[in-house]
Structures are given as C-alpha cells and as structure tokens.
C-alpha cells in the first residue's frame, strides 16, 4: 500500500519519462500542459505508465474527459456552459476547477490539470497507507 509521498514519486518518474522533463520541474503545482509541455498523445502515454506503475485501470476519458469538451450540449461559442462545468466537476472530483470556471474557454482547459490533481486521481484508485 503506497503512501502519498510514494505516489507522488512514482508519478514524478512517469512524467519525467513521458515528457522528457527534469524531475525538479515536476512539482505539485505544475500544470501538465502549460508547465510540462504535455501534448494530446502524451496523455495516453501517461495513462499507460500510471496503469503499469500502480497496477490500475484507467478507462478512456476518466483522467481527461475530452468528450465533454466536444459535446455541443456542454460547449457554446468555445466556452464550457454551466452544465458543462457541473459535468466536469462530477467527472473530475480530483481537479480544482475553480479558476477555470471563472473563464471557461475550452482552449484553456488543457492548463487545468496539475501534478497534484494527478496524485489525487491516483489516490482515488489505490489504497493509500496512513
């Protein structure tokens, strides 16, 4: 059963390997897209490494619910609607969406996810030691 620190360290290794960044760049506050330069294909690479590293299953769209952002029910004029924000909150309880919700431009969504969010996501999938 890993501790929170061990989860962070494993995620750090996964991001260093997937994104070619230095380990000191992978801080809890760092955003995956803005700070660490992740591109869309990298998310699949990261998901693979998390699944392997933690022996978990991550169904498509669970970490990054891109289907919400392409659903006309939730997006209007390039902005996520109230209902869309609600849906994202439901689907991503591990992420802090407060700042995004103030100006929910779809294009900026990539900058929402931080390393700390990813840690919380993994913690929700594995048993964490006291």
């Amino acid at each position: 059963m890993p501790t929170k620190d061990e989860i962070f360290e494993k995620i750090q290794v996964a991001l260093v390997d997937a994104l070619g960044v230095d380990d000191d760049e992978v801080t809890p506050e760092a955003t995956l897209v803005g700070d660490l330069g992740a591109e869309s294909i990298d998310f699949l690479d990261i998901v693979f490494r998390l699944e392997k590293g933690f022996d978990i299953k991550i169904p498509r769209g669970e970490l990054f619910p891109e289907d919400v952002l392409t659903d006309s029910q939730y997006v209007q004029d390039g902005r996520v609607t109230e209902a869309g924000i609600e849906e994202l909150r439901k689907r991503m309880p591990f992420a802090n969406l407060a700042a995004f919700a103030e100006n929910p431009v779809v294009q900026d969504f990539g900058n929402v996810l931080t390393v700390a969010d990813m840690c919380r996501f993994v913690e929700s999938k594995v048993e964490v030691a006291g």
């Binding site: 390997d17 997937a18 070619g20 294909i41 990298d42 699949l44 690479d45 693979f48 699944e51 392997k52 498509r60």
Partner: protein
C-alpha cells in the same frame, strides 16, 4: 512499395515479443551520403526498423483489426554506430497494450553488443477514412515476406498462422478483381 527497414523475422511470439534482423549493406544508396567516406546507418532508420518490428507485433495481437501507427518515441539511446557488413538484431517486447494503443520496449544488438534501446508508443487510429492505408493484403504480404509465419508462434504455442479475417478479406478482394 513499402519501405522495409527490417529484412526478416527470426522469432515472433504472438502478444509477447518479436525479433527481426536488419543487414546493413553498402548497396543501400543513402549510406553513400550518410556520410561520404564514412557510411553508417542513420539512427532514424534504426528507430523505424524497431518500430516495424514492434508495429507488426502489436498489429498481429489484434489480428490486424486496428490501425496501428507510431505515435511517439519517449526514449531512445544509441550506444555505438552500425556500418555496412553489420547485422542488427531488433527485439521488441509488448509492455502494455489496450484499446487505445500499445507501448513496446525495443533493443538493437550488433552481435553481443547493445547498439540501441528505445521505448516506442503506438496509437490505434479510429478514423475509417484511413482504411485504404491499412488494407489486409498489405499486412499479409509484409508478414509473409518477412517470414513471420515461418518462425512465429501463437499465444498457445502453436505455429503462427494468418488470422482468418485477414485471409477472408484478401480472398474477397481477389474475387472482386
């Protein structure tokens, strides 16, 4: 024609690993420019060869039903150069495979010497417009040409055979011609 950067499979274990060889020859035109008076195989073509070895392994796992494309090379290291007269042995091992794609680890050996190692990431494309690039006859020809069915084994250890869906698709196409 397809650009082949492997010459032959020497082992092909379905869903697990594949080994292929690449003989480097001075008859390859590009070696005279890479580099003049100092020919060596370009590293990019070694990566392509490892990707072809791993790509066919991943494709075969799904009976060639997925459109497998090289998406990313997260890591690659070269330890020495390889020149005309050398034979490289590429070994690719499936590390992780799921609906959206696959990750393989790969090595290139020159005799007993480690020449290169890499991680290669493949994505499965879902765009039906790309169907013509992934015709069943292409894969059947490649696998036969590279000797995969001569050396390969299925997951249960029986000899590797072309998937029925591939043969049926090719037969149906030939009947239409």
């Amino acid at each position: 024609m397809r650009w082949y950067w492997i010459d032959r499979f020497i082992e092909f274990e379905s869903g697990r690993y594949a080994k292929a060889i690449k003989n480097i020859s001075l008859a390859e035109d590009h070696l005279h420019d890479h580099f003049p008076n100092y020919p060596m195989i370009p590293s990019s073509l070694v990566i392509e060869g490892m990707a072809q070895t791993g790509g066919l392994l991943v494709s075969e796992y799904n009976h060639f039903a997925e459109k497998v494309v090289l998406a990313k090379v997260p890591k690659v290291t070269f330890f020495c150069e390889a020149i005309p007269g050398d034979t490289l042995t590429y070994t690719t091992t499936i590390e992780h495979i799921k609906q959206e794609g696959a990750m393989v680890s790969a090595t290139s050996y020159k005799g007993q010497k480690l020449h290169a190692e890499a991680e290669i990431f493949f994505a499965h494309l879902s765009d039906p417009r790309l169907e013509s690039l992934f015709g069943p006859e292409i894969f059947l020809r490649m696998m036969r040409l590279l000797g995969a069915f001569e050396v390969g084994h299925a997951a249960d250890g029986s000899p590797l055979v072309p998937p029925a869906r591939l043969l049926q698709a090719v037969e149906a196409e030939e009947a239409n011609d």
